[in-house]
C-alpha cells in the first residue's frame, strides 16, 4: 500500500504502519466472525425465547481493557521513537532554505542559487530543510521519504531526510492553500554526491548558451509562471501571456496601461502594485529569485506569444 521507501527513516515508519495494519486486520476479523457467528448461532427461534441474565464478567472485562491498553502503549512508544528520529536532524545535515508561496516552492542553496519547484539533493547525506511561507500556510510533503511539515508565515519550521537512492520523488503541498493548491507540486532530484556538486556549480549558468527566447521559455516553466499564466490564451488564475505584450490592459482601478517592458518587469518584481481587472492580487514577488537578465529573457519570450 505504501509508496517505495527512499529515505533512511522510511523503513521504521513502514514497519509500524504494517504492524498496526496487520494487528487491526486480525482483530477486525475476530470481531466480524463473532458478529456473524452470534447472529447465526443465537438467531431468534421463537417469540418466547428466554435469554440468560449476564450483566457483567469482571475477568473478561479486565482482559479486554488491558490487552488493548498494552497494544496501544506499544504503538505509542514505537510511534514516538520514530517521530523523535524524524525531528532530530543530524548536526552535519546539508541545509536548504525552502520558501512556500501561493502556489510554488522556492529552494535557496548555500551557493546563492535559487531553484523553483525543483529540489536538488545529494544521496546518502542528511539534508535539512528550513522552511517558511510568504503568505498562507502550506505543508511540504514528500511521500517517498515519509516526511511532512507545515510551512508557516510567521516562523521557521524544519524537516530533514537522508535519501537512499538516486532518482526523482514528487513533492506535494499538503495544506489547503487556495485555487491552485493541487498544482503546488515540485520534484525532488536525488543526485549522486558528485553530480550534486556539479549541479550546484553549473546550475546558475546552465542556460547561458541558449538564445533569450528559448531561455525565457525555460524560465517560465522552471519558475512555475505557467501554473497561473497560460501561453495559449486559456484563462487561469492570472492573465494569459498570449497577446499580452504591447496590448492595452485595464487595471482594477480603471486605469489603462500598455503592457510594455516596464509594466512586465514591475509585474514580476512588485506583482500587487497594479492588478489587471478581474483578477485577484495573489501573485508572489519574484524579486531576489530572478535577476535582470532572466527578466529580460522572459520579456523576450512573452513578446513572441502573439
Amino acid at each position: 500500500m505504501l509508496p517505495p521507501a527512499k529515505s533512511t527513516t522510511a523503513a521504521e515508519t513502514d514497519a509500524l504502519f504494517h504492524f498496526i495494519t496487520s494487528t487491526s486486520l486480525i482483530l477486525l476479523l475476530g470481531i466480524t466472525i463473532a458478529i456473524i457467528y452470534f447472529a447465526w448461532k443465537y438467531r431468534r427461534r421463537s417469540e418466547d425465547d428466554v435469554t440468560p441474565v449476564i450483566t457483567h464478567n469482571s475477568k473478561l472485562e479486565i482482559t479486554w481493557s488491558v490487552i488493548p491498553l498494552i497494544l496501544v502503549i506499544i504503538v505509542f512508544g514505537w510511534g514516538l521513537t520514530g517521530y523523535m528520529n524524524l525531528t532530530t536532524a543530524p548536526d552535519d545535515a546539508y541545509e536548504i532554505r525552502v520558501v512556500g508561496k501561493s502556489w510554488l516552492w522556492e529552494f535557496h542553496y548555500d551557493t546563492g542559487h535559487v531553484s523553483v519547484n525543483e529540489l536538488h539533493v545529494p544521496v546518502d547525506r542528511p539534508v535539512k530543510l528550513v522552511m517558511s511561507s510568504d503568505d498562507v500556510i502550506h505543508s511540504f510533503y514528500i511521500p517517498d521519504f515519509r516526511v511532512k511539515m507545515d510551512v508557516l508565515p510567521n516562523r521557521y519550521t524544519s524537516l530533514w531526510f537522508e535519501a537512499t537512492e538516486v532518482g526523482e520523488s514528487i513533492v506535494y503541498c499538503a495544506e489547503y492553500c487556495g485555487t491552485a493548491h493541487s498544482n503546488m507540486l515540485a520534484t525532488t532530484y536525488v543526485h549522486s554526491q558528485e553530480d550534486f556538486e556539479m549541479w550546484l556549480e553549473t546550475a546558475g549558468s546552465e542556460d547561458d548558451d541558449l538564445d533569450p527566447v528559448a531561455r525565457g521559455e525555460q524560465l517560465v516553466t522552471r519558475n512555475a509562471c505557467d501554473t497561473c499564466h497560460s501561453t495559449d490564451g486559456t484563462r487561469l488564475q492570472g492573465p494569459t501571456f498570449q497577446g499580452l505584450f504591447g496590448s492595452e490592459r485595464e487595471m482594477d482601478d480603471g486605469e489603462i496601461v500598455v503592457a510594455d517592458e516596464n509594466y512586465i518587469r514591475e509585474s514580476i518584481l512588485e506583482p500587487n502594485a497594479r492588478i489587471t481587472a478581474g483578477f485577484q492580487p495573489v501573485m508572489p514577488s519574484y524579486a531576489g529569485t530572478l535577476d535582470d537578465r532572466q527578466i529580460d529573457a522572459i520579456i523576450e519570450y512573452i513578446k513572441t506569444l502573439d
Binding site: 505504501l2 477486525l28 428466554v50 479486554w64 524524524l86 498562507v136 489547503y176 487556495g178
Partner: protein, 580 residues
C-alpha cells in the same frame, strides 16, 4: 434535601397496570392541526420532526455536493468544474455535513423525540427554549444559504487562518456568523437535555435505570455546553479578524495562525464526540432490544461515554502533529489520543457480549447496528494508525485521513442514526416501513460505502493529499472506483427516501411495541399521545430487563397523583390490576 424531611417525602404509590391503547385515534400528529400550530408548537416530538425535515434537507444538499466532487474527480484534471468551484464545493460539503447534519442530527431529532419519552416526562424541561433552539438553527442555516448565494466560501470547513482571514474570497463572514448562531442552538439543546435528565425523571428512574441512550445524550450534552462556546468565540474572533483586522490570528498584523488552530480544534475535536457518542447510545438500545437480552456491562457502557467525553477534550492537538507544535506537546496529545481508544474498545466488546446467547432478530435496525460495529471498528483502528506519531507524519492531510473520518462519521454516526431512525420510526409515525426494501437498501449502502472509502485508504497511504482538484495519473483508477461507490450509495439513499415516504402514506399501522422492547418509550401508544403518557409512569424494572415477562412492563399510575420526583425516594407497591 434535608434528611429529616425524608420520611415525609416517601410516598406510597399505588401502581396500576395499563396497556397502551393500540392505534389511537388522537395522537400528537393530529391533535393540533394547521401549519401555524406546527410552527409554534412547543411539543418536543413535533420539534424533533421539524429537525428531521431540516437535517434531511441539508443531508441531501451536502450529499449532492459530495457526488459532484466525486464526479469531478473521475479525471485527473478538470472534468466539468474549475478549481475555484471545486474548492467551494468541498468546503460546503464539509461545513454543511458537519454543522448542519452530523452535529445536530442525533440529539435534535432522536434526542428530542425520545429523551422525554424515555424519562416518562411530558416534555423537555424548557419547551419554549427548545422551539427557540430550532429557530436559531434555522436562522444560522439561512445565513449559510445567504453566504452560498453571495460568493460562497472556499476555505475548507476548518477556516484556517491566514487563508480565511486575508487570502480567501467569497462571503466568509456570513458563513462563520451563521455557524456562530448555530452554536447557540446546540448549546441551548445541551442545557435543555441536561436539566431534563436531572429534573424530569419519572418516579423510579434512578441513575442506574437510565437507558443507555440517555447516558449517551447526557455525555453529548456536556460536550455541547463545554466545547461549543469556544467555537463561538473562535468564529467571533475570525469574523472580527475579517471585519476589523484585529490581528489575533493574522500574522500580517502580528498574530499567530497556529493559535487559531488550537482554538478551532479545541471545539472541533470534541465535536466529533458530539456526533458519535449519541450514536453509541442508540446502538446500545438496538442491540439489547433485538438480542432480547439484558445489556452486558451497563455501567461500563455508561461510564465509557463519559470517559470519552472527558478525554475527548484533551486530544485536540493530534490535528496539529505537523503544524509545528513542540515535540513534547505532540507526545502528550498522541498518548491521550490512544487513551480514547480504550473506552471505545470496551463498548465494542460489551455490545458483542450482549449478543452472546441472545435471541437475535435481524430486523433492519439491528442490521444497521451490526454494520455500525464493523465500519466503526475500521474507523477506530485507522484512528489508532493516525494517532501514532511517526505514521501520522506520513498520512496527515492525505486521503487516509479522509477515509478514516468518513468511516467514523458515515460508517459510525450515520449508520447509528439510520439504526435509530428505523428503530423509532414506528413510534414516531405509527407506521411500519417495508422490511424487505429496508434490508436491500442497507446492503446497497454498505457496499457503496466500502467501495467509496476503502480505495481512499490505499490512495492516502500512497501519498494522495486531500482537497486536490488535480491529481497525478496513478491515482485515477482508485478515484473512479470510489466515484462509482458514491453513486451506488446515492442510489441507496434515494431508495430509502422512497420506502420511507411510502411508509408514511401507505405503511401498515405499527403496534405500540413492534420490537418487544422493555424500554419506557415503547410502553405508550404509537404514534405517541400528545402528552406522551396517559398516566405518569412509575418505573420498577430497568429498560433492559428482558428476563422478566412483558406483562410487568405495562405500568402507570392514575393521573391525579402529582408532586413526585425521581430524586425523592418512593415506596412502590404494585397492585395487580389489569386494565384492558
Amino acid at each position: 434535601m434535608a434528611t429529616n424531611d425524608e420520611s415525609k417525602n416517601v410516598r406510597k404509590l399505588q401502581v396500576k397496570r395499563f396497556k397502551p391503547e393500540e392505534n389511537p385515534e388522537k395522537h400528537y400528529l393530529n391533535q393540533e392541526k394547521g401549519l401555524w400550530a406546527w410552527m409554534t408548537t412547543v411539543d418536543h416530538k413535533k420539534i424533533g420532526l421539524m429537525y428531521l425535515g431540516s437535517i434531511t434537507f441539508f443531508f441531501f444538499i451536502a450529499g449532492v455536493l459530495a457526488l459532484l466532487l466525486r464526479t469531478e474527480l473521475l479525471t485527473p484534471a478538470r472534468s466539468f468544474m474549475d478549481a475555484d468551484m471545486y474548492n467551494q464545493v468541498f468546503t460546503l460539503h464539509g461545513a454543511i455535513m458537519i454543522f448542519f447534519f452530523l452535529v445536530p442530527s442525533v440529539p435534535t431529532v432522536l434526542g428530542n423525540f425520545i429523551l422525554p419519552l424515555q424519562l416518562g416526562a411530558k416534555d423537555v424541561a424548557f419547551p419554549r427554549l427548545n422551539l427557540a433552539s430550532y429557530y436559531i438553527y434555522v436562522v444560522g442555516a439561512l445565513f449559510t444559504l445567504f453566504a452560498i448565494f453571495t460568493g460562497g466560501i472556499d476555505t475548507g470547513w476548518t477556516f484556517y487562518t491566514p487563508y480565511s482571514s486575508s487570502a480567501a474570497g467569497g462571503n466568509i463572514m456570513a458563513m462563520t456568523f451563521g455557524i456562530f448562531i448555530l452554536g447557540f442552538s446546540s448549546i441551548l439543546t445541551g442545557v435543555n437535555f441536561l436539566v431534563t435528565i436531572h429534573k424530569m425523571r419519572s418516579p423510579g428512574i434512578t441513575w442506574n435505570k437510565l437507558p443507555l441512550n440517555l447516558w449517551g445524550l447526557y455525555a453529548t450534552s456536556i460536550i455541547q455546553i463545554l466545547a461549543t462556546p469556544v467555537l463561538a468565540i473562535t468564529l467571533l474572533l475570525l469574523t472580527m479578524e475579517r471585519m476589523l483586522s484585529i490581528g489575533i490570528f493574522d500574522p500580517a498584523i502580528g498574530g499567530d495562525p497556529v493559535l487559531y488552530q488550537h482554538f478551532f480544534w479545541f471545539y472541533s475535536h470534541p465535536a466529533v464526540y458530539i456526533m458519535i457518542v449519541p450514536g453509541f447510545g442508540i446502538i446500545s438500545e438496538v442491540i439489547s432490544t433485538f438480542s432480547r437480552k439484558v445489556i452486558f456491562g451497563y455501567w461500563a457502557i455508561a461510564l465509557s461515554s463519559l470517559a470519552i467525553a472527558f478525554i475527548g477534550f484533551l486530544v485536540w492537538g493530534h490535528h496539529m502533529f505537523t503544524a509545528g507544535q513542540s515535540s513534547l506537546a505532540n507526545m502528550v496529545f498522541s498518548f491521550l489520543t490512544f487513551l480514547v481508544g480504550i473506552p471505545t474498545g470496551i463498548k465494542i466488546f460489551n455490545w458483542l457480549a450482549t449478543m452472546y446467547k441472545g435471541s437475535i432478530d435481524l430486523k433492519t435496525p439491528m442490521i444497521y447496528a451490526l454494520v455500525f460495529l464493523f465500519l466503526f471498528t475500521i474507523g477506530g483502528f485507522t484512528g489508532i494508525m493516525l494517532g501514532a506519531l511517526a505514521v501520522d507524519i506520513h498520512l496527515h492531510d492525505t486521503y487516509y485521513v479522509v477515509a478514516h473520518f468518513h468511516y467514523v462519521m458515515m460508517g459510525g454516526m450515520v449508520m447509528a442514526f439510520l439504526a435509530g431512525l428505523h428503530y423509532w420510526w414506528p413510534k414516531m409515525f405509527g407506521k411500519m416501513y417495508s422490511e424487505f426494501w429496508a434490508k436491500i437498501t442497507c446492503a446497497i449502502i454498505f457496499i457503496g460505502f466500502n467501495m467509496t472509502f476503502l480505495p481512499q485508504f490505499v490512495m492516502g497511504s500512497q501519498g494522495m493529499p486531500r482537497r486536490y482538484f488535480n491529481y497525478i495519473d496513478q491515482f485515477q483508477s482508485f478515484h473512479q472506483f470510489s466515484t462509482i461507490g458514491a453513486y451506488i450509495m446515492g442510489v441507496g439513499f434515494l431508495i430509502m427516501a422512497a420506502y420511507m415516504i411510502h411508509s408514511l402514506v401507505k405503511g401498515k399501522p405499527a403496534s405500540s411495541n413492534p420490537w418487544g422492547s422493555r424500554a419506557l418509550e415503547w410502553q405508550t401508544s404509537s404514534p405517541v399521545p400528545l402528552h406522551n403518557f396517559e398516566h405518569t409512569p412509575v418505573i420498577i424494572n430497568g429498560p433492559y430487563d428482558y428476563h422478566k415477562p412483558m406483562s410487568e412492563f405495562q405500568l402507570g399510575i392514575t393521573a391525579s397523583q402529582h408532586a413526585h420526583h425521581a430524586d425523592k425516594p418512593v415506596d412502590i407497591s404494585t397492585q395487580e390490576k389489569e386494565q384492558a
